[in-house]
Amino acid sequence: MGKDPNDTDAAKRRTLEREIEEAKEFDPEDPLFGLTVEELSGPRLSRRAVLRLMAAAGALSALRFAPGLGDVAYAQGTAGGHLKAGWAGTGEIQTLDPAQINQVLEFQIASNVLSGLTHINPKLVAEGDLAETWTVTPDGLHYTFKLRQGVTFHNGDPFTADDVLYTFNRSKNPDLSIQSSVLAGVDNVVKVDDHTVRFDLKAPQASFLVKVLERSSGRAMAIVNKRAIEEMGASAYGLMPVGTGPFKVTAHQLGQGVELEKFADYYDPSRPKLDKVTITPIVEPEPLAAAIEAGDIQIIGGNPPAAELIDRFVANPDLVVSQIPGPGFQSLWLNPWKDPMRVPDFDKPFSELVKEKGFMVRLAIAKAFDRADLIKRALFGRGVPAFGSINPAMGYFYDDAIDGTSEQRFDVAAAQKLLADAGFPGGKGFPTMKLTITPAGRREGQIIADILKRNLGITVELDAKDFPVLIEEFDANNYDMLRVGSGGDYDPDDGLVDWMLTTSKFNGPKRDKATEAFGYFSDKEVDSLTAQERVEPDLAKRKALVQQANKITSDKVASAFLYHPLDILVYRKEIVYPAESRIPGLVDLDRVSFA
């Protein structure tokens, strides 16, 4: 009689939970986070060390949804074959130069062509990629890397310490790279010898191996080839970068696609299994669906496929649909400087704020949304209701109870009463609001307008703007209501620091500062709690601070939070892409093979 797989899963989960709890137990003052120098050294960190580093970096939460902590199944299919991939929702792969990449769909490809000193494996362990081993000093400030020897670039050049220095100097130069801020914590990089480099940090950084050196998320330090850049020029290099990765780019016609071929001299002879990969950008959802159904493409990368296609894919026996929580949130932003939603000062207790008519209107709008209904209608059920910027992919920091405790929780009667108390019973006398959306967001905008009309009697007109215009209006506070959100948020700071501080980069940076003290939200308590959580090494304390700040942004309606999207990968059954190999946001083709 076979073992019940549920028992195995439960046992694994218990083990994982115990390990996570243990990982959080360390002295916050210790620059090595309670680990020994040996444990922090490479080529491969132990499971305990990785969990501890992630705990210290606040990234442990990602483990909840990350694959790989159970049994890992690597690609087991046959070697060879030509994989045809469709990259969804884009007309072209604008660049593969890590110094210029600003979209996930670009570094998904570049990560297959360029190597870093480290790369996350399916267990989320930062393994040596071009670094063979490394040591760290007891103060946590100096990392010395022994580089892999015998590695060559696609053009035959040998990889040495000079390439690390060249990449560092190029990436930290804002004239040459848009990633310079990623290297802000690195004081200096020193060549010790041809195959040894030392990174001197300004302060201990628990996430250094992953956030700075990892080849995809850290893209600032994905190793580039000096000779190729000089000979080809930056533009041509951006289309066909020369790296040391498992695939080399053999053709790239802007808008028509990218061709990759197995790099025969890749340092790991067991990878990649595929001989060739063709990547075609496909803008429209219906042709994308037809292409994978016809077998013209076998996997969908790039942006998530349109929500309306997913049920169709699930029903297709030829396709596999892998769905996991995505790291982001989507909001309806309500301009606090426009009547009748005007709230020029959020720095009051909730009990006082809720007596103000402008705030009553904001809260009424936020409470009028049945998120589950919205997700069902707009996303065909593929999303998680949102009540804050901290998303479920952040696991540990995510507040499971917020859907029951937030003042934004759905209550149509209470919402109608608030609106009536604000002087607009049944929406009577309420001015017509404009909802700024992108053309692609029109369908969702119509559903939002319908919900507000049905539940509050408010009339909302859609105002479709191209993305550059929408962003300009958002930055300048020139809107009534506006739909935009965030993605790639793995750490609480991605939600709180980037979005919820008075000084957040998105908080009306181009507004008229003489008349508007902030963009969409400002609260001293949130500012203070966020400042504390950023430097709080104690995980439990940090979690409390994060959740407290998140709850305030929710209660005080920094925005009407709507949903957290799912991360969805679709491929044909003849492809072997073990679910355990999958890292949200990445498509590592060296782990893909044909059945």
Binding site: G86, E92, S181, T280, P287, A290, D296
Partner: protein
């Protein structure tokens, strides 16, 4: 003829300059900052300013214009603002053959359908055959090309697996793949085009068939096929050629919807994506090329008149 051509070419340069200038200033008057949008997620507040300065976008507009015109005069259309700053000439040079192939293929399909349908409709006026062709023409006109494209993909790629659903194969990959990839998109475009042409040919033929010289030709005892094809059809072509010329130029720049459906990056898509991204150099360069195509096609049409009707002389 030579002086006529010279005059037309000089006129064309003036038209292209006027269009390019208009587009240059209109683009900058349209709201939407490309760098702000491009770097929205990067989070480095100074990154946009650094790039704006580097690309010269912080200079006065008239300075940008003067620099651009100077560069254009030297054959440099600039580089895309996005990604790796690929030169606009390269983007257009890659897209142009795809668009040209698509337009030519669609044109051939359209003519193959429209010429016989138009002639037969005119010769067999008000017969069931004419009504049948008229019905098919309206059907062709009524079907949006993107919808027809999707239907063709579902039938011929998804269900029958006869043809590829998406993409473009350059001739360098062989004639077979090139044709295979063009059949569906060219049919999607060519169908509506053929419907317009068939109606044009029919009405033009009907006009000509009433003319005295047709009566004379028949009275001379010429066989009806010769009357129709040699005398009537040739004379009916003059107005048709005008429409064909403009429609072909529109096809070159305006097949964007079908290009999107079939994931083919042609000129239309370059232009639309450039506009959506506010990628000034790309839009300016693409508009310049598109205006050149229109001017050239008009010139070709004018020259063709002289071959079809020797009474027309160009001065």
């Amino acid at each position: 003829m030579t002086s006529y051509l010279l005059k037309r070419v000089l006129g064309a340069i003036v038209v292209m300059w006027a269009v390019a200038t208009l587009v240059f200033f209109m683009l900058r008057a349209v709201p939407g900052d490309p760098l702000q949008a491009m770097l929205f997620d990067i989070g480095d507040p100074h990154a946009a300013d650094v790039l704006r300065h580097k690309y010269g976008l912080d200079r006065p507009v008239y300075v940008q214009y003067a620099l651009w015109m100077w560069n254009v005069a030297h054959g440099d259309l600039g580089a895309s603002i996005y990604g790796s700053r690929v030169p606009v000439t390269q983007i257009i040079a890659e897209a142009f053959p795809r668009t040209m192939a698509l337009a030519l293929f669609a044109f051939v399909i359209a003519m193959a359908i429209a010429v016989p349908a138009g002639i037969v409709s005119a010769v067999r006026k008000n017969t069931p055959l004419d009504h049948g062709f008229t019905f098919l023409a309206f059907l062709g006109l009524s079907m949006p090309d993107f919808w027809l494209g999707i239907v063709l993909i579902i039938v011929f790629a998804v269900k029958l697996h006869w043809l590829p659903a998406i993409g473009f194969a350059p001739l360098s990959q062989g004639f077979g793949p090139w044709v295979e990839h063009l059949i569906l998109p060219a049919t999607a475009i060519g169908t509506a085009f053929s419907a317009i042409l068939a109606r044009m040919i029919r009405s033009s033929m009907l006009e000509v068939m009433k003319a005295d010289f047709i009566t004379v030709a028949r009275s001379k005892g010429l066989v009806e096929t010769r009357v129709v094809l040699k005398h009537a059809f040739r004379n009916a072509l003059i107005p048709v050629i005008t429409v064909v010329g403009i429609a072909f130029a529109l096809l070159m720049a305006g097949a964007v919807v079908v290009e999107n459906v079939f994931a083919i990056k042609g000129l239309g898509r370059v232009l639309i994506q450039g506009i959506l991204n506010r990628d000034y150099p790309v839009v300016q360069g693409a508009i310049l090329v598109v205006s050149a195509i229109f001017v050239f096609m008009n010139l070709v049409v004018d020259v063709l008149y002289t071959f079809i009707d020797p009474r027309i002389r160009l001065r």
